[in-house]
Structure formats: C-alpha cells, structure tokens
Symmetry: C2
C-alpha cells in the first residue's frame, strides 16, 4: 500500500475557494487501476497559510507511478495552473510506503 | 473523519531500528473508541534523514483528542523517550480534517 500526498499552503482567506476547486474537480481516479481512496484534508492553520493536502491511497507505488504517466493524470491536472493565486509557493509532494498496517479488528 | 500524523526524521542508518521499535510496540489502539486505522509509513529519503510518519485514521477529531487524554495514550507513549537517538529533532505533529472523501466505487 502506498500513500501519495501533495501539500498545499493556502493563503489566508482563500480556503473556501481552494476547497471549491477540489469539490468541482473531476479527478477521473475511479477508473484508474490500483487506486483505492482519495481525500482532500485540511491541516493546521499558520499565520501566513493553512496547510491542505490531497491524500490518495494506492495498492502500490507502481500503481501510483503508472497513473502519473497516464492520460487520466494529464486530464486531471489540465487546469491546475489556474489557481496559483490561492497558493503560497508550490505544492510539495511526499509519497509514503506503508511499513506497518492495522485496522480496528 | 480525521487523520493524525506524527512526522519523524530518522538519521541515516537508523531506519531498520526505528521500524523495529514500531513493529514491537503495542499501541493499545484496537480498544480505543473512534479509532479506525493505523499505518507506519516511510516517506522520502533526504541527505540527513529519512522521513517517517505514524498515520492514524479516526472517526472524528474529538475521538483523537479523547484518546490523547486517556490512560491508553500514556501507556502507548511510556517508553517513547528511549529512542531519541534515532531522531533528528522532535517528532512534528500534524492533524488533518477530511474535507472531501471518495473511495473506489
């Protein structure tokens, strides 16, 4: 299992606009092999930004990498540049390999 | 839904020891109300550290906060100070509220 997170620093006052961008977006992920879950998550609020992350869960890192090379990925990111005014700096990607895993039994 | 992550910067060469600490640890989470999932995840490798995170999913932020005030939490963290030599700096906590959520249909 693999978790891909892209961290966004959103300027104060732009939180609702940023959430709306994602709510309106068709990520086309449902049709992608190896995709399991997507969440948009809101993290801590700082003086100059609120941290958000796109949080996706994949069957494997390979499944994620295959997606990043696909037409579905290009389609999902086609308009990504339109919302730069909402961000502080660039999104920061972090990928995580699951080492230990347990769920409520 | 709420995701609680604690980020650990592990010094080069200490990765296996850090993973073993977690593999051997009894977090007592299975009995905690509102707990859903735990993962230990390994992120990007940098020159001076490898990023790890404990990644737990909760029914709500309140369920997580209640846990941090519980005897089970104290028990799970009783020996946390023993492994400081593996870390660069302190663990960094980030809590995330789920704004949008979709799973493969």
């Amino acid at each position: 299992m693999y978790i891909a997170m892209n961290r966004f620093k959103i300027t104060p006052g732009s939180e609702a606009a940023f959430e709306k961008v994602w709510a309106d977006r068709d990520t086309h992920l449902d049709r992608v092999a190896g995709f399991k879950e997507f969440q948009l998550v809101r993290g801590p609020k700082h003086d100059d930004h609120t941290l958000y992350a796109s949080h996706t869960v994949w069957e494997s890192e390979d499944a994620f990498v295959d997606w990043t090379k696909s037409e579905a990925f290009r389609e999902a990111h086609r308009n990504a540049g339109d919302n730069k005014a909402l961000y502080l700096g660039h999104p920061e990607f972090e990928g995580f390999t699951v080492v230990l895993d347990s769920a409520k039994g």
